[in-house]
Symmetry: C2
Subunit: 319 residues, 2 copies
Amino acid sequence: MRIGIDLGGTNVSGGIVNKSGNIVYSHSVPTEVDRGSQQVVNNIITVIEELINKKSPSDTIEAIGIGVPGIIDSDGVVIECVNLNWKNIHLKKIVEETIGYTTYLANDATVAALAEAEFGSLKGIDTGVLITLGTGVGGGYIINGKMMTGPNGLASEIGHMVVGDNNIKCNCGRTGCLETFTSSTAIIRRAKVEIINAPYNLIELSDFHKKYYKNLNDITGEIIFKYAKENDPIASKVINDMLKYLAKGIGNLIVTIDPQVIALGGGLSRAGDYLISHLKEKVELERIFKAINPPEIVLAKLYNDAGIIGAAFIDKYVE
Amino acid sequence: MRIGIDLGGTNVSGGIVNKSGNIVYSHSVPTEVDRGSQQVVNNIITVIEELINKKSPSDTIEAIGIGVPGIIDSDGVVIECVNLNWKNIHLKKIVEETIGYTTYLANDATVAALAEAEFGSLKGIDTGVLITLGTGVGGGYIINGKMMTGPNGLASEIGHMVVGDNNIKCNCGRTGCLETFTSSTAIIRRAKVEIINAPYNLIELSDFHKKYYKNLNDITGEIIFKYAKENDPIASKVINDMLKYLAKGIGNLIVTIDPQVIALGGGLSRAGDYLISHLKEKVELERIFKAINPPEIVLAKLYNDAGIIGAAFIDKYVE
């Protein structure tokens, strides 16, 4: 059996995962970010110890892994984690010294990519990328069947690729990042601006405008996609521009990583086939040299449990 | 001994390279692009056979490699080569069947990166990128000490990364590519526009304008850098913008590849320390998360012979 831990801003969730990728026992505790990094690390250890205690005596622990929403270097140090307000926390070392087992760490988007590689949309793929479209934009690579995160853990931080000139400052420090064009945060901000600035002729045609003009703070990414699917002119414009820049980002992945498959995960990917079919049209416009086919673009298959499942299999994908 | 071939648009140049990276015998013939791909392939074979015949009887051939200015897939097929007007030429297969030796192929920028890894600025580096700044912009990766070009040979085609919105159509089909901001072609075009549109107050201050207003077609990348070094306001503006976008491209490499060292080669890199010091200032502005140091930025060390030397060592860097 394997143990996977999904370290989130709200909860530390863990599970015993069997070789088929099923979570046979799970346990979670609040992360308690505001009580500081030492408490958060204690909570992680509590969850791991609970899971170790619950295994049947005949089971051996094949691997323990933790998915972390931050940047992890090749020594297992969490260099930066904005959500947890962490800098340079030696998580791997602390956990291993306490529990006495080798522990593997990876970024949460990489972990989600590993879950897809083991059981989902990237299964059997030599070179693939998972793009997670949520409040931020993350990425995870499978390169020659292994994970690749780079010496500083920055490879696959694709949300921070510059894809245009928008003068919107990203939390990474740059402007024009993919995340500032294509995250739910970005499209919600953009939708508010489009509603506020809508010309009269569009207002008349937009149910999205009618419903949310006085309720701007109720807008979610899901709602924008819902109206875009109904061809609402304002919502469609927002999604059209989002997909244009997402396609530029995919074009950049093609000329830096050359993936055979690109899988889309994260909350916004629940827009499903609408997202995929409209995105493919935009990617066609960003094709590099017509002789070469673009990568396949598909939906991720694992959602809520990908963080635990992928973490349990990190060891299989370490180079 | 090793044999390296540098396939260029004008000449097919080859050399016998010893283990110290010295070319001990060289031979070259015209490429004859206009006589078609079969003739070009024959010329490549002629050069290889001449080199094989010149080796001393006691020497064994350790490897034969060819650097190609195009996109090569993992089977050694040249999928696209704009300069030679090639599409889907099975170069590896044809050469091997004729000469009877295993032959390694790689893109010319990758080959230059391998030469740097073996004998130059990337020696001993685990993860590094060579950026070639010439009439186009190319890239070559060293990842975990090996080359990485991707299943379709598109990884490291970094000249075609989108880094801004400029509406300039690249020969790859996209707009906003790094190459359209930072190649010598790009800065020459930009310099002409800046000279033509220069306001009166700048004209008075610009020797660059005075000298080239009536000789626009004499402008070269080297000349623009020369005037920028003298603080000419028009030339400085062109170089400043070039470096701004080159820094965005380097920022994108950081979040996709995470290199420890970035080496600059190609004709424009002859601007030397001026290029490096001004570029570093711009890269500082594109830093991702302040906790993580940017990669080292250095000049490539091998110039004219890098194509032959790198080609002779491709086999050592195949994954």
